[in-house]
């Protein structure tokens, strides 16, 4: 088949050596012509048709970072030239995980497969290494929990590593889930208990992966377990140790809106259900045992060991699942919303904790009250159950998301949780006015649009127009915005402002990416191998991604992806083909394979 290869790039930032690939592709069998059309070419269909006709081409390969962009033009041209429109083949570099000019050989292989008319994923099948049947899951949020349970339920060993003292992740902090308004804890906690009790799951909390050796199928992982200083097996979470502890620290689990002690349990349903010591704040640890130690004396079970030391464990696993989740963007750097300056400007997570029945106000939505702090001798704003409920609440969407200065991408969940907030506010406070300032309403999932509709009908003021201005006049906060559909500039009183803050990869992503050799995409999330066809695999064989750490997604998608990962892992354990890295495949291997597939 007479084939023509055309190179068209969309993104001029990506530095792929097109010339080298073009030279290579010119030597492929049946390739008649190779042309480099450059970056963002303006394609004239007439000229292209002439070109195809003069070369008498039967097949066209468009190669580039996003060749699909130019497919319509080529299809039209080949039709005009009298050819078969199904013979326009795409050689997409981006789709197969080539970023910033990495892996020239793979790019060549992609072009080669396209010229043979063979799908790349059929020709490039890494494999061969025998697989250890144990699996390591990094991160025990809903994604890690789901994937662990799926694998463990199939009877395979799982090591579940979690950095904090409890599993559950962000979902444990939530009050309700959208769009069904189910109680998040009711869905999550049974799964957490399952994880805690499962004989096939080896749960390692307060632990971190520190190094990785070996090859796909048999990774040797070193895990550092931070000293919990409380014996998990002996502690019954009676809580006797908490009251005497003199140290008060902002609670991470409560998103900083309440205080905890230096010996604490993140929340009552934590798994493992045991206390832990915050060694960065514990007075005994900080003074090397010279001061304090009251908890030791109070503990009826003698399970506190303040002198416990960190340990490291070496394990060997066949597959690794990354489920490291996300973090909120640091919103204090976006100063126009007054976060940190005005007391009642909250991030979404803070509000989530405020409205949660297990939160510091018992689920009452109140504004902060001023309280005198004896230690610092200053007034500070705190949430207390005696606070007044807000009369007017503004919810601002897209804070830091879809913003070229912070996150260019959409965080995907903010629209829906903001609508959920409106519902919770309306449900808990009578006659509250809720203003949603949005840019575009992204209610894309099953039942989401209906949910948005329901919130609208509940009487929430949904304003098409983003606000960039929260100000304070006297004691009253004002939110200024443009009501675009109504063609008015508006200014509302607000007693509380909730910022739908964008999501960023969790802080350890960078380190893990380097340690494991997994690529990250332009926004810092882990790169999947192929966005459409292989959304759970990574470039590196035997390492998978699940949940938010791949890209922002909601809970249903996260759970689905976690289960999908488990299927991939279990498949690699049972199919007998072994696993290998995509990056270890050589060009000639793929070529050979493509030729055989082509011959079939």
């Amino acid at each position: 088949m007479r084939t023509g290869v055309y190179f068209c790039q969309v993104n001029d930032q990506i530095q792929t050596n097109i010339d080298a690939i073009a030279k290579y592709s010119a030597n492929l069998p049946e390739v008649e012509t190779v042309q480099n059309l450059g970056v963002k070419p303006k394609i004239s269909i007439k000229n292209l048709t002439e070109n195809l006709r003069s070369n008498n081409l039967e097949r066209v390969v468009i190669a580039g970072d996003m060749p699909g962009y130019y497919k319509p033009a080529f299809t039209k041209a080949i039709a005009l030239a009298g050819g078969n429109t199904s013979e326009v083949r795409l050689a997409s570099f981006q789709e197969h995980g080539i970023q910033n000019g990495s892996s020239l050989d793979r790019a060549k292989a992609i072009v080669a497969c396209a010229t043979y008319g063979v799908p790349f994923s059929l020709a490039a099948v890494p494999g061969g290494n025998p697989v250890n049947h144990a699996t390591l899951v990094i991160g025990a949020g809903i994604a890690g929990i789901q994937a662990s349970l799926e694998i463990a339920n199939a009877g395979k060993q799982v090591y579940l590593v979690e950095q904090s003292g409890t599993i559950g992740g962000h979902m444990a902090m939530f009050d309700k889930t959208f769009p069904t308004l189910d109680c998040a804890a009711c869905i999550l906690t049974p799964k957490m208990v399952d994880v805690g009790q499962h004989e096939m799951i080896n749960l390692m909390t307060m632990s971190k992966v520190v190094s990785l050796r070996g090859k796909p199928g048999s990774y040797k992982v070193k895990i550092k377990m931070k000293a919990r200083r409380v014996d998990i097996n002996a502690c019954v979470a009676c809580g006797e140790c908490v009251n005497p502890c003199p140290v008060k620290v902002e609670s991470e689990f409560d998103a900083g809106i309440s205080k905890r002690k230096a010996i604490y349990i993140p929340f009552p349903q934590a798994v493992p259900n045991a206390y832990q010591i915050d060694e960065e704040h514990c007075r005994y640890v900080l003074t090397d045992g010279e001061k304090c130690g009251v908890c030791l004396r109070k503990c009826p079970k003698d399970c506190i060991h303040l002198d416990e030391e960190d340990t490291t464990v070496d394990i060997e696993v066949g597959n690794i699942i990354l489920a490291t989740g996300y973090d909120l963007l640091d919103v204090s750097k976006i100063d126009q919303y007054g976060y940190g300056k005005y007391p009642n400007v909250l991030t979404s997570l803070e509000f989530e904790r405020l409205t949660n029945a297990s939160g510091s106000t018992g689920g009452r939505i109140v504004t902060k009250v001023k309280q005198y702090n004896k230690k610092t001798k200053q007034d500070e704003w705190v949430f207390s159950p005696e606070g007044l409920p807000p009369r007017n609440v503004a919810i601002i969407h897209c804070v830091g998301s879809r913003n070229r200065k912070y996150n260019a991408y959409c965080s995907r969940v903010c629209c829906m949780y903001s609508l959920k907030f409106a519902h919770l506010l309306k449900e808990k406070i009578q006659n509250v006015n809720v203003y949603e300032f949005y840019i575009d309403m992204r209610a894309f999932g099953k039942g989401y649009e209906e949910f948005a509709d329901r919130i609208r009908q509940e009487g929430t003021f949904i304003i098409r127009g983003h606000s960039a201005d929260v100000s304070m006049k006297g004691d009253q906060m004002f939110v200024r915005g443009e009501d675009i559909f109504n063609d008015r500039l508006v200014e509302f009183n607000a007693d509380m402002v909730i910022l739908a803050v964008g999501l960023v990869p969790s802080p350890g992503t960078e380190e893990l990416s380097r340690m494991l050799g997994v690529q990250k995409d332009i926004d810092g999330w882990f790169s999947e191998l192929d966005y459409n066809g292989n959304p759970t695999d990574t470039d590196k064989g035997g390492i998978y991604v699940a949940g938010m750490c791949q890209a922002p997604k909601d809970i249903p998608d996260t759970v689905a992806q976690a289960s999908a990962v488990a299927a991939g892992v279990l498949g690699s354990l049972t199919n007998g083909k072994g696993i290998g890295s995509m990056s270890s495949l050589s060009l000639s291997d793929i070529e050979e394979k493509a030729k055989t597939v082509h011959a079939l």
Partner: protein, 385 residues
């Protein structure tokens, strides 16, 4: 009335400096932070939308671009980096070319070469004419009095002629601006007496440019530096224009300094010099948003003015210190820059000296008219009830 859409409008505006309009996703952040946007005049978001939609005829009749003083807040806030501030600036450039009936302004804005060619041509013609005149009637060694190379009475009438041509074009353009904004663009009736009622706005804004000062509303800084500098520049400019057009004869007399006239000249020169240096410096440094993107016309505007001020000061010094030949030479060079500068005025950014106060005046009338209409509508709805 249906509005015709011009799909390639946005491409046209590209030449005027609006490069990133398509990036805008209409969040309204810019309107929110703008100190000048209010209930009646909402911008820059709306202007961005009109551009995206290609509503050329609508933008032609809008006053909003003239109410923007480019403090850069909107551009700083813009989550899309669509640069609303520069877009408003570009619409102003385009509006200047729309008000101009000759089409010259459009050429100047679209083509740097065209503009330089025109300026150069007029400069050369002026220079040749002045030198021929000087050589035929006077002596290069005499600056003023009998046998002067360029006698003050001659220069005075020359100035008045050039000024007259400039005023003629400017007046027509201003009339066209009035027609676009107040006739074509008004959907509600404007009674004639509103023009009288709001008339004071015109001199007030012309002399104080006080809306520029209001730009700092949202800024932490108490004083809006660009406004002060601009105020000094404009004041110096108008003073100098009056001196040249009315008091040229005593101004040129010398060599002793006639303080009753020259003191104004000195003060005006200080304002002009400080202003042009400030703006050139910031345009080079690009340290603030409003100076980051400079259109070729912006450069010509500041550099030519700076050149005029420098040569003007130089010929004055040469004259007073006895270098009469040098004084005459720099005077010719000075006028070679002044004439294209003046003739270019109705077709360039320069014209905002007239359009800005007019726009404030029209805006005040529109606001009054809208309020009046609102009142009228209210009474109507009551009677229906």
């Amino acid at each position: 009335m249906a509005i015709r859409v011009n799909p390639s409008f946005i491409v046209t505006l590209d030449k005027y400096g609006a490069e990133d309009v398509q990036l805008c996703y209409q969040c309204g952040d810019c309107s929110t932070v703008c100190a000048h946007a209010n209930e009646i005049f909402k911008f820059p978001r709306k202007s961005m939308r009109q551009m995206q939609m290609g509503l050329e005829q609508k933008i032609e009749t809008t006053i909003e671009p003239w109410l923007c003083y480019y403090c850069g807040q909107c551009t700083e806030q813009c989550p899309r980096e669509a640069d609303p501030g520069e877009t408003m600036m570009s619409i102003r450039r385009w509006l200047i070319s729309r008000y101009d009936f000759t089409g010259l302004a459009a050429q100047f804005f679209k083509s740097k070469t065209m503009e330089l060619l025109w300026v150069g041509l007029i400069a050369v013609v002026t220079g040749v004419f002045l030198v021929m005149y000087g050589l035929s009637n006077g002596n290069i060694a005499i600056y003023d009095g009998v046998g002067a190379f360029l006698p003050s009475t001659f220069v005075h009438s020359f100035d008045l002629t050039i000024g007259g041509i400039m005023a003629f074009f400017l007046l027509i353009n201003a009339l066209r601006m009035w027609y676009f904004i107040m006739v074509k663009g008004m959907e509600i009736p404007v009674p004639w007496w509103l023009y009288l009622k709001e008339f004071l706005e015109l001199p007030v804004h012309f002399l104080t440019q006080k809306r520029y000062a209001e730009c700092d509303d949202k800024l932490d800084k108490k004083v809006h530096m660009p406004w002060i500098i601009h105020f000094g520049l404009a004041l110096g400019y108008v003073t100098m224009l009056i001196l040249v057009m009315v008091f040229l004869v005593p101004l040129q007399a010398g060599p002793e300094i006639n303080w009753s006239v020259h003191i104004f000249g000195y003060l005006a020169s200080i304002g002009l010099l400080a202003g042009t240096i400030y703006f050139i410096r910031h345009r080079i440094k690009k340290d603030e948003i409003q100076y980051q993107k400079s259109h070729s016309t912006d450069w010509l505007f500041v550099t030519l003015l700076f050149f005029i001020v420098i040569t003007g000061i130089a010929q004055h010094i040469f004259h007073r210190t006895g270098f009469h030949e040098w004084a005459n030479v720099t005077y010719v060079v000075h006028l070679m820059a002044v004439v294209p500068w003046l003739l270019r005025m109705p077709f360039s950014k320069w014209a905002h000296i007239v359009y800005r106060p007019l726009a404030m005046y029209f805006a005040a009338i529109q606001e009054s008219a809208t309020a009046r209409q609102q009142k009228f509508d209210d009474t109507l709805s009551v009677t229906i009830k």
